[in-house]
Symmetry: C2
Subunit: 366 residues, 2 copies
DNA sequence: TTGTAGGCGTTATCAT
DNA sequence: ATGATAACGCCTACAA
């Protein structure tokens, strides 16, 4: 083993992997027949196909998607970027995406930004390097670098959980400003005038900020200026409790607290109970999210239900439909057209939300 | 444009993607230098590196991971397979995995089996076709096909959420039999003798079955045979309610109900309340999972806390450590050794669980 | 229907 | 340090 081998001299790696060529050799056919068989079993003669099948089975052949995707210049993978997986909303959406895409044989590449826009840019760049079939990102507010990346990529881009801004190809979500407005209207209708809004991470989580803005603006139209309290990065019942204490100090006659999410609201409920402040008689409390415990806590919590699963489902369906259209059109164009993976149309879907009235805000103030 | 072009004649696709070659041309260096720069910027002379950097930036070059991984025969991707993403336990684990692997620049490929072992096989096969750096699966019970696939792959395999069976490379989890035993011991200690176990999907969800088995066996040692009720595929509070009704019909003097999860337990709680059966005075109730609402429901629920996030973290850490070891060893071997990506050692980590005693089972029976 | 050959965009080897 | 050049494993236009 020194210098008298010319061809296989520079074998680079062990790579003991079973290849298509191995299968072909075993079945005594050419590699392209195997390839064809794999993609369209009908197209190969009934004489060869059992031979090929048997060779695949006995060798335990697993096709190499990397090579396949490289050659075919497309990958059956969908990149999904969410702010956080610690958040039940997003996991629910991801579950729906996974389920629907899985049915159509697409893989999910998953990433979390932790609410950091720079991190999002990195993730987008990484995902694009996989040549995914499509990219799904959360929200429609991105930094310049991300927008450029997304615009230049010849990949359909779906934005979810929020609508607004200029869409890339698809937006599926709802207006968080409207959520704030609806909650404000509800509390105002209950006769509350001394009102606080308790939120967390509202600079980083733009959607939370929008809910706050909608809330404040709507009340402003009634001449009410709510007290706004930001618990910073702390999204826990404890933080909600602290916020209520703070709010009561600043405004002793407080009548209503709208929380940016159910977790904080639960803390407000606990703290109110702790100081003997009856809910809803003395204090109305609302949340956002309709988490499972929100209907079993005492008293049950008025909240807003976002359609998390539906968002995922719609995103997947729309994207799948668009991909199908692209494919059909590409067939038509022949090879020449330089179509950029965008069917041309951009679509915006508002899935809305639901205000769920429960006991925690059922009292009328006079 | 007909027949007088020899070289570029068969360009197969538009593929307008910016390639490494483009960058090299722009920077007036060879592609190898660009590749080198990308992988180890220090190794290239300070004269070239700024030129390369600028070319990359102006062209907006995004490396093609498919090509890179194919050439390098490895992929910075980790395949993760869980039974379901609708299940908070697993999403928590996935979140932890994502976070830890992300820190080390690995992508997550995500799949869900919906508790179907055949589906698992398919997913494993698909994931293997991506040449992932490692594979993480849930549970250590697989069908023969899956086991073969996993054994033949030269990829480290981690099994999580369960320990037992023969491990492939790594197991991180806890004994579900022990969970059942501990719950049984608790209820027995409270003096309960007429006991029911309410579970769902216990054939498909092997871990739920193990909890039941541990529970029944432990009670059997005290001469008690619990009534076992299976709600089938229905994992909802409503199913829990139905189960309680059924149990009371079969055993009117029922004193305690252990549920396979908190969701069912919540339903049992509701139903008991509905029929004026005081918990815990007349009926002890326990769950599994320690979901957020379990401490705020009335009465607070005795349950078992699995360390979902810790499982994910440990899996990632152990896997990362093993990969590092493999890499080091590979360096040592030179090229010759046919090491199969297994550091050789197999490791089993029991992360345990925690019994959380609350009011729903605090009553002593006599 | 089946086979042949060139190319997909990298990495890694080797020579300079 | 830099640059040719051969793999990597598969797809696909084209020829047979």
């Amino acid at each position: 083993m020194s210098q008298n081998n010319k061809t296989a001299a520079r074998s680079r790696r062990g790579t003991n992997r079973v290849t298509m060529e191995d299968v072909a050799a075993r079945a005594k056919v050419s590699a392209s027949s195997v390839s064809l068989y794999l993609r369209n079993p009908e197209a190969v003669s009934p004489r060869l196909s059992p031979r090929i099948k048997r060779a695949i089975d006995t060798l335990g052949y697993v096709p190499n998607k990397l090579a396949g995707s490289l050659a075919a210049a497309r990958t059956r993978a969908i990149g999904v970027i969410v702010p956080s997986l610690a958040n039940a909303f997003f996991t629910e959406t991801v579950a729906a995406l996974q389920k629907e895409f899985d049915r159509h044989d697409y893989q999910l590449l998953l990433g979390a930004t932790e609410y950091d826009l720079e991190r999002e840019t990195e993730l987008v760049r990484t995902f694009l390097s996989w040549s995914p079939t499509a990219l799904v990102v959360t929200g429609c507010y991105h930094n310049e670098a991300t927008r450029t990346l997304l615009r230049m990529a010849d990949t359909p881009v779906a934005e979810m959980w929020e609508i607004g801004e200029e869409p890339f190809h698809l937006q599926v979500g709802f207006s968080h400003v409207a959520v704030g407005e609806v909650l404000a209207a509800h509390l105002h209708q209950q006769g509350a005038t001394r009102i606080a809004f308790v939120g967390a991470r509202m600079e980083a989580d733009r959607r939370a900020g929008q809910r706050r803005d909608g809330f404040c603006q709507a009340l402003a139209r009634h001449g009410i200026t709510p007290l706004v309290i930001d618990t910073g990065n702390d999204v826990s019942p404890a933080a909600g409790g602290v916020a209520l204490r703070q709010a009561l100090k600043q405004q002793p006659g407080l009548q209503a607290v709208a929380c940016a999410n159910d977790v904080l609201a639960l803390g407000v409920l606990f703290e109110a109970q702790h100081r003997g402040m009856a809910v809803p008689q003395k204090l109305a409390v609302t949340g956002f999210g309709n988490l499972p415990y929100s209907q079993v806590c005492v008293p049950p919590l008025t909240t807003v239900q976002p359609h998390a699963a539906e968002i995922g489902l719609r995103v997947a369906q729309e994207l799948l439909a668009q991909l199908q259209r692209d494919e059909a059109q590409q067939q038509e164009d022949g090879d020449g057209a330089d179509n950029n993976g965008n069917g041309g149309a951009t679509k915006v879907v508002d899935v809305g939300f639901e205000l769920i009235l429960r006991q925690s805000s059922s009292q009328r103030f006079k």
